[in-house]
């Protein structure tokens, strides 16, 4: 038995497709980029600090890793938003949780990008 109110959502927000498309596009970018990352790690002759530093300093690897970070965190945020919308029914709590995950993802992405930048410069 459940006691949900019988009401039908007759209003359309006209915005569900935007989130859906963003999720698909970011996933499409992530497929080749994650494959590249795994392949690069797999074929590495050595995993020591010096070699990793050298690998990160290559502009090609630096740019691709930055794209991985940005797209990965963007995709993560979109996914978390969907989970929150699924399981948290209370409107205010839902809005705040989505906002919080957005800021956490932005923050972690910025920290990642700055760290990468410092490693490459250092």
């Amino acid at each position: 038995m459940t006691n949900k109110t019988n009401s039908v959502n007759t209003h359309s927000a006209h915005k569900g497709s935007g989130h859906f498309l963003k999720q698909k596009f970011s996933a499409m970018i992530l497929i080749p980029i994650v494959l590249w990352f795994c392949f690069s790690i797999a074929i590495m002759p050595s995993m020591d600090y010096e070699y990793m530093l050298l690998w990160l300093k290559s502009p090609y690897n630096y740019i691709l890793l930055s794209i991985t970070l940005i797209t990965g965190f963007y995709h993560l945020q979109l996914g978390l938003q969907m989970i929150i919308e699924d399981y948290i029914a209370e409107d205010n709590l839902q809005r705040n949780m989505i906002l919080m995950t957005k800021w956490i993802c932005i923050m972690l992405c910025v920290v990642g990008l700055i760290s990468l930048f410092y490693i490459v410069l250092g």
Binding site: M1, T5, N6, H14, F20, L21
Partner: protein, 262 residues
């Protein structure tokens, strides 16, 4: 928050045991969910030990045998007994099925019969489908056309356009699909559910309907449509072998194509 546990007044207690008087060799136990809101008591699971030699082959036959021979107070919906009316939809051994088209011999052990999941229960196996019907009505499942057909003429449709409706119009509104969908369990007040979306797509696909864009615009909503995460329980559960998940994917595809200017 989504409900992961049954409320206290919904916890199922052990119930009574009944046994059919005839002593046939072939017997089968049916554990049936019983709930009467007027009693103020929690639901219970009654056990009916039936003689299969004097019982018809389908689950519905067994339930009707229970009702006529052992406990006339058992409540269930049924009508056509041939999978056309969709009335006898219930959860049998964990799957949503039509009791009239499900054979008893398909199950090796005891049979557990519950009402459709995550719906308010009116009594025993009768669930309250009010919300489900309202959602169906909300997609306006009828033809919308400004064009007036020639006098005494039908609205014609090519054979290939008619074929596009196959697999969409056969829905019997049993609610097996919607009530098997976890997204519908958590958000049935906002998500339309597979059955209503299948009905919506039936009219979106109809060449005679002139409100395709209007219908797609109405469905472009985070909750109405995009709670579907392609879990596919709906397609798995449909007793008519329809594919609501594919219909929902096609609606998303059409909205996306329009958005991208395709």
């Amino acid at each position: 928050m989504a409900e992961f546990k049954l409320p206290k007044n919904s916890t199922i207690n052990p119930g009574k045991n009944y046994s059919s008087s005839t002593s046939g060799k072939k017997r089968k136990k049916f554990h049936v969910y019983r709930y009467n809101p007027e009693s103020g008591e929690n639901p219970q699971l009654d056990t009916f030990d039936l003689d299969m030699d004097s019982c018809g082959p389908m689950i519905l036959d067994a339930l009707l045998k229970i009702k006529s021979e052992l406990d006339p107070s058992l409540s269930l919906r049924r009508s056509c007994r041939e999978g056309i009316c969709g009335s006898c939809a219930m959860n049998i051994n964990g799957r949503n099925v039509l009791a009239c088209t499900t054979a008893i011999d398909d199950y090796a052990g005891d049979i557990h019969v519950y009402p459709l999941p995550h719906q308010p229960v009116i009594k025993d196996l009768v669930s309250d489908l009010d919300q489900f019907y309202k959602q169906h009505a909300s997609v306006e499942p009828w033809i919308k056309s400004e064009t007036i057909p020639a006098e005494d003429k039908e609205r014609t449709q090519s054979v290939s356009d008619r074929e596009k409706l196959d697999g969409l119009y056969e829905c019997v509104m049993c609610a097996c699909c919607s009530t098997s969908c976890p997204s519908y369990w958590w958000n049935s007040d906002k998500y339309l559910g597979p059955a209503a979306l299948l009905a919506a797509y039936r009219w979106i696909s109809d060449s005679r309907d002139e409100a395709t864009q209007e219908r797609l615009d109405e469905l472009d909503d985070t909750f109405k449509l995009y709670r579907c995460h392609t879990i596919m329980n709906c397609t798995n559960a449909c007793p008519k072998n329809l594919n609501p998940a594919k219909a929902i994917a096609n609606i998303k595809k059409q909205i996306s194509t329009n958005k991208l200017g395709g």
